[in-house]
Symmetry: C2
Subunit: 319 residues, 2 copies
């Protein structure tokens, strides 16, 4: 049994092309080849814990991922997110690997899912990227968009000037993709100026409204992963031309789609699933002026694929 | 973060009195002070995986336990059961401890729950203990009954003479409690001769029938933990005077009680819960001639209590 620490995981990640693995995970999921039970959840006084688990039938492992968000951790000098992934053998149940990623692999696989959504749904001509939020996921989403679009013009919205300054400073690092980043405290600027928007906050009140959405905009919403979080006015989903879920069954109870269904802004049978868009089973955007939405609540196939890829990479290096 | 291997766990267990901790866990559960979501489950081609998780509000940790049973593992020279427990801080979500117990703590906490059920429900005068099954749990259940009853006369049922011989040989070890053990291939002998019976098999067909149950018998059923396993003819529950569940909500979908409810042999409002029997909130056996049943499907409070006790013991030793 192998235990892989965070620093080793970070080093291994630089060697692996995860995008095809995670795309293939979404396709397996949408084709019914993955067993992914409903997310386990613990709601505590100071935080929340998600347990995602499952397997893809044709593959050697099953994965259990525990990820937590404790939003008051800053007062203890600790990061908000934490967690680990466990990889077991499908044939014998033996534990093969503990990935002590402290939530990092969740950040990465979520960012890659955002990039995949943009790859398949965003307009060809992205003239400005809008990022809603300034945290780790706001950073990771932009990083992974580098390979998806040539656009380097970015507008970031946050609640505080300090956090926006930190965000800009973070991307001044020479090892990171080079973007021209402007900042704003006015959320309306995002929808007035950007046609590829990624929302990354744990907001419980809608941030983006259905007014003034630019023609051709694609929005990827990754912040809302539990039933009471919401970043988009559900009327946005009602007005859009295509609403894509990472998991239709999961999005019925979690995320932006759950609110829009409850408010009757959209109907269940209008939804498409990301894996089917990737495989071509479902129609993607057909014109440049359509408004498209991807609601990403996080599916265990992403965890299965990233954990397997990191473990197998470690095995190759040490064999 | 501490990682505790199986050999260290075994050594720590000899120093800890787990029975009061697990009794108190059942009481907290029945008093509504524990958050224990429904069990997560993966059913694979060759095995099954259970994920149990939760926390007791007044305590410092939450626990996630992954336990598996792969019944064909013998052909690979591997044990059937496997698993680990993870202990996290309720305040910050930080991982405090990985208990690499390979399923051993599940065996122990299940055996202790059996002993607790016998302590509170068995007749005062146990004249013969009947064990159904010859596996690890059949051994552990008998071991932990040592402190509960003075009876040392045991009859064990199994499907093969070899496995029965192994069972007897196992208890010839001087470090184990001294029992006089006889064996049988006839299941009816168990119910004809024993008044404290523990069933420990993964049978999918009832083994014990409702005929010839001795007056005053107590049966603890621990083998059936998924919906399609069943060790007792559900008429036994119908004919008994008291049916006790470790978790009434869980036993409605898993274990012996689920079958008896479905067959209308018992009604939901007849059930009592183990934690309430322990605390005196619910009536236990009132006469020596009553037939009582405890259906133990396994509740995460047991895992929380055993994991916390082992971790805290390790912390004390190494502080």
């Amino acid at each position: 049994m192998r235990i892989i620490q965070l620093n080793e995981i970070e080093s291994l990640l630089t060697e692996i092309d995860l995008m095809p693995a995670i795309e293939s995970g979404f396709v397996s999921y949408s084709e019914g080849q993955a067993v992914v039970p409903p997310v386990g959840e613990l709601l505590l006084d100071r935080g929340e814990v998600h347990i995602k688990y499952g397997f893809i039938e044709s593959q050697p492992y099953y994965v259990v991922k525990i990820a937590s968000g404790f939003y008051g951790n800053a007062e203890f000098g600790l990061p908000t997110g934490s967690g680990l992934m466990l990889l077991f053998c499908q044939k014998t149940g033996q534990l093969k690997c503990i990935l002590l990623d402290e939530g990092h692999l969740t950040d990465v696989r979520t960012a890659i899912a955002g990039a995949i959504a943009a790859k398949h749904l965003a307009p060809t001509n992205v003239f400005r990227i809008g990022i809603v939020g300034t945290g780790i996921q706001a950073r990771a989403q932009l990083q992974y968009l580098e390979g998806i679009t040539n656009c380097r013009d970015v507008l970031v919205w946050g609640r505080s000037q300090d956090k926006l300054a930190d965000y800009v400073k973070y991307f001044s690092n020479d090892n990171l993709p080079s973007f021209q980043i402007e900042t704003t405290l006015e959320i309306a600027d995002i929808q007035n100026q950007c046609n590829l928007i990624v929302t990354t906050t744990p907001s419980k009140q809608p941030l983006l409204t259905a007014d003034h959405l630019l023609s051709g905009t694609h929005i990827t919403a990754v912040g809302s992963d539990i039933p009471d979080k919401q970043e988009l006015d559900s009327k946005i989903l009602g007005k859009s031309d295509l609403v894509c879920a990472d998991s239709i069954s999961q999005c019925q109870v979690r995320g932006e789609i759950s609110h829009a269904l409850r408010n009757q802004d959209i109907e269940l049978d209008e939804l498409v699933e990301l894996g089917n868009v990737i495989s071509g089973q479902a129609q993607s955007r057909t014109t440049e002026d359509q408004v498209t939405i991807a609601d990403l609540t996080g599916v265990a196939v992403q965890d299965i694929q990233i954990a397997s890829a990191v473990f197998e990479s470690a095995e190759r290096l040490n064999s």
